[in-house]
Symmetry: C2
């Protein structure tokens, strides 16, 4: 049987040029309503640093700023190590199209060493993945076809019957089992996408879809590549909620847990919305 490239790996293919510049293209498989899924763009920017010849260690933190729309088609990513220390390295990364900046990012890489360790957050108590039905996002959200979502609480609001008011909620929490489709071993790129795979918290509070877009998105990678490799392609548990909504923005705080109860990543974002 011929080996097929996973859609995530295909979306991350970058051709290296000079001076930390890479060229790539948006992937139809990760299309969002307008332009690509932000979690995929974030993974592309991280990948440029990962493939840079001067790269030291592994990602520990990534902040991506969605400065403007990314058009379908080719893009250029420039990754620049702003400072390299003995065991840490800082990056500035920029995605542009036709010379116009669409996305910027900073990343921290590090060579990690063993220290005292403790998970203080507690993994939510939830049914096993096989006890929760997989449910699709609405069909026009193309990128969501690359994920299997098993919502435990806070599934995507359903359209109201004609004339009925949307069912609002006073809790923006979504907790779900999630994995890539087709199943694919977890790595930093996949984990980055999963951190951004929660639909916008304002939909849940307001009971309906509304205009919303992430402006800045941060991932802290608590797992290193060894821990990620041990996750294999099993679902991970994600939980996300907002702390506040107002004056055009809301936040999202998320945790991604390995099936065995390891906190793999925490993530934060600030989202523009209209309501």
């Amino acid at each position: 049987m011929p080996q097929t490239t996973h859609p995530l790996d295909a979306s991350l293919e970058l051709a290296a040029g000079d001076d930390g510049t890479f060229t790539g293209a948006t992937s139809a498989a990760y299309a969002n309503m307008v332009g690509p899924f932000g979690g995929n763009t974030a993974a592309v920017l991280l990948r440029a640093a990962q493939e840079h010849p001067e790269r030291l260690g592994e990602p520990v933190a990534l902040t991506v700023n969605f400065a403007g729309p990314v058009a379908d088609g080719a893009f250029t990513v420039t990754a620049r190590p702003t400072r390299t220390n003995r065991s840490t390295q800082h990056w500035f990364i920029e995605l542009s199209q036709d010379g116009v900046v669409a996305t910027t990012a900073t990343a921290v890489f590090a060579v990690r060493r063993n220290t005292w360790a403790a998970d203080e957050a507690v993994m939510p108590q939830v049914p096993r993945p096989d006890e929760v039905p997989a449910q699709p996002m609405p069909p026009f959200i193309k990128w969501a076809d690359n994920y299997e979502f098993r919502w435990i609480v806070g599934g995507i609001p359903q359209p109201s019957a004609d004339g009925a008011a949307p069912v609002e909620s006073d809790d923006s929490t979504t907790t779900m089992w999630v994995r890539d489709v087709p199943p694919r071993p977890l790595d930093f790129a996949a984990l980055t996408g999963i951190c951004d795979s929660f639909y916008p918290r304002a939909f849940l509070r307001r009971g309906t879809a509304l205009p919303a877009g992430t402006v800045t998105f941060t991932v802290y990678f608590h797992a290193d590549s060894e821990v990620l490799a041990r996750q294999g392609d099993e679902p991970v548990l994600g939980t996300a909620r907002a702390k506040t909504f107002g004056k055009g923005y809301f936040d999202q705080v998320a945790e991604i847990w390995g099936a065995g109860g390891t906190l793999l990543a925490t993530s934060h974002q600030l989202v523009y919305f209209k309501a």
Copy 2:
């Protein structure tokens, strides 16, 4: 009586050069064990964008990366708008000394408008500021003299008696009333510093000071300048905890509440530590 410049305002004085370049100098009042207090450096970087002639709107998000040590003395800050949209603007900001990058940042500014609003997080129930004694940090933490800390839970661990083991804790939460000293009306710069004014969470868990330094720090400003102005110079309530510690890093998640129960800012950081 002659008007005295507040130490915070003095620390933020930047001389504008060409092309978004500013010069300034570290402030002895905000000295840390090595170099300046990171919360003050963060406020300096934000200030450069605020004073840039092309600045649009107000800060909504700031991420600062502490790439290397800042030496006492002069520095250069370069602020560049990476993209300006109709109501949002993205920034890349870099602090360097003798041509070597020490700190980088990205920021999102926006013109905010009224929308549906809700605080979903709940302010901790705490005694009033005048019911909680102000307590100092250890005297060698110079920058802490610019803050009045009233710890409600999770005060700074006290040194153990000779030979006694440190008192460990299984909860990294600190909740405190905090304000600038001398009292100063709250603004984005002051709020940025306050978000970083919690001592390292690992000290609380391990019961003792240990080597630790923030590598990346994010603030989401939920309050606009009008809401900040209404806070005046009264103490604000800060609460912070870590979710996980391991392999040389821990995280910190913080909320800053106005006395009236408004969530002014949320903040996240990833901290390097040895233990």
